[in-house]
């Protein structure tokens, strides 16, 4: 990935660590966007150096803040564990040395009958990558507006989904589609030049064989609210 000036001189954030605090807010916020709601239950597995230092770095607070929808520069991060309790988010932390990668975090969240299992990695300086969503490998680094279309691996779904975006006149910058197995769960990732509205997301969600839709805003814009 090509970093922006503001990936290096940024994020604007509440400390103490860009890789262990701001990155966790961003990961939590991403997971919340994919789930489409504040979860009622979240189990967070911290790997790598998170496992021994997450308390000191406030990674647990940061994750709660992100899951509640806060950005990395929100002063309320300092009190987010209390806020999570008040808003009915049950947060469980597990130190997990078995996770792959240098600074990995696995987040398993639930809301109603929805369950989501995400593997992410902190890349340093607040930058993150989402490595896996449920059973599907991905590589999302939050550069642009990204639409995720979770579907069953059947013929025509990709064409229909791209068609819905095409009708809006918004350009698709890149597409990737991966599946867990033939005919199994699949995930279409569309990076767009501009965001799409709720109506378009609704249309995507109503397509046959589509099981879930989410829009992720660019990491920097979603979090850095400026001064």
């Amino acid at each position: 990935m090509e970093p922006s000036i503001f990936d290096i001189i940024g994020p604007v954030m509440v400390g103490p660590s860009s890789s262990h605090t701001a990155a966790c807010v961003r990961i939590g916020r991403c997971v919340r966007s994919i789930l489409g709601a504040v979860p009622t239950k979240a189990t967070v597995h911290f790997g790598g150096s998170f496992a021994t230092t997450y308390r000191g770095h406030g990674s647990d607070r940061a994750m709660a803040a992100g899951l509640l929808g806060m950005g990395p520069d929100d002063p309320a991060i300092n009190e987010s564990l209390e806020a999570a309790r008040q808003r009915g988010l049950e947060l469980q932390i597990v130190a997990d040395a078995t996770l792959p990668g240098q600074l990995p975090v696995r987040v398993i969240v639930e809301h109603g009958d929805k369950r989501l299992d995400v593997l992410a990695e902190s890349l340093g300086g607040g930058m993150i990558a989402i490595r896996r969503i449920n059973d599907v490998q991905v590589d999302l680094q939050g550069e642009g507006f990204t639409v995720l279309v979770e579907h069953v691996d059947h013929p025509g779904v990709i064409a229909h989904a791209c068609g819905v975006i095409g009708e809006t006149g918004i350009n698709i910058g890149s597409t990737t589609c991966r599946r867990s197995e033939k005919g199994g769960k699949a995930l279409l990732v569309l990076e767009l030049d501009q965001p799409v509205g709720e109506a378009v997301l609704g249309k995507l969600a109503s397509l046959e064989d589509v099981t879930g839709v989410a829009l992720l805003a660019p990491m920097a814009e979603a979090s850095d609210t400026g001064v």
Binding site: I9, M13, S49, T53, G125
Partner: protein, 292 residues
Amino acid sequence: MTDYRFESAVQLLTLCHECGLPISEVVALREEQLFGRHVQDTRRETCRRYKVMKSMVEEGLRDDIHSRSGLTQAPARKYYESASSGTVLRDPVLRNVLAYAIAANSCNACGGRIVASPTAGSSGILAGVLAAFEERIGKKVVDAILTASAVGIIAHKRAFLSGARGGCQAEIGVSAAMTAAGLAEALGGEPCQCLNAAALALKNALGLTCDPVGGLVEVPCVKRNGFFAVHACVAAELSLAGIGSFIPFDEVLDVMRQTGEMMSQALRETGLAGLAKTATAKEYFKQAEKDG
């Protein structure tokens, strides 16, 4: 059309020569090419981030600022007050560099709003140096930040920017290199002098481990920001005086990456060795637990 992307200091220098532009302008044109952000908007956003940096210094100089752990208690204020005329450092700008960098990183340790550059743990260096030099360099603080970001971009692509990956050299070392380059440009240095300043700064921070007490970003981080802010000024001073680094920046970065890869994980932000495991550190936390 010129491709403004660069993977190394050598490529960045070639771009500067071909376009006849300083590093700050090349990196702003890269931003426009890659992300569609107009140069004016980039400068405006950079200016806004500099305002956050100044607020970090201001916050960190307050006499009542303290961290949850109690390990950080207004160190910048204490120094600022006791050293008003200077004991060892007689240059007021250099004293401010030291005080402001410690202040800016205290703000981070105490839960304040900061701008990572390139990381939160090393965020005091660029902020402290620029706040101290603002009177002298004026609006060039924006050029300095842009040039610093170019150095950070190369470090990110060629090595890494986190203590967990490469030890403190990857945070403080890179931050000092970025700041040295930015300061050199703001003081009239040529692009090659900026990157030479970066090489000098990083070369002399190689091997630094990340072993913070209690896994907190306080000891040694807060005062280390002060030390390496002065270090960055020394690198810019030497480079602008024509003193070259025998090893160029790209090679120093490669060495940093290799050194980081050879470093035991215990010394990479895990709190399992080094200062974190000293008798004093253990005693502090035993006592803190007893006190609840």
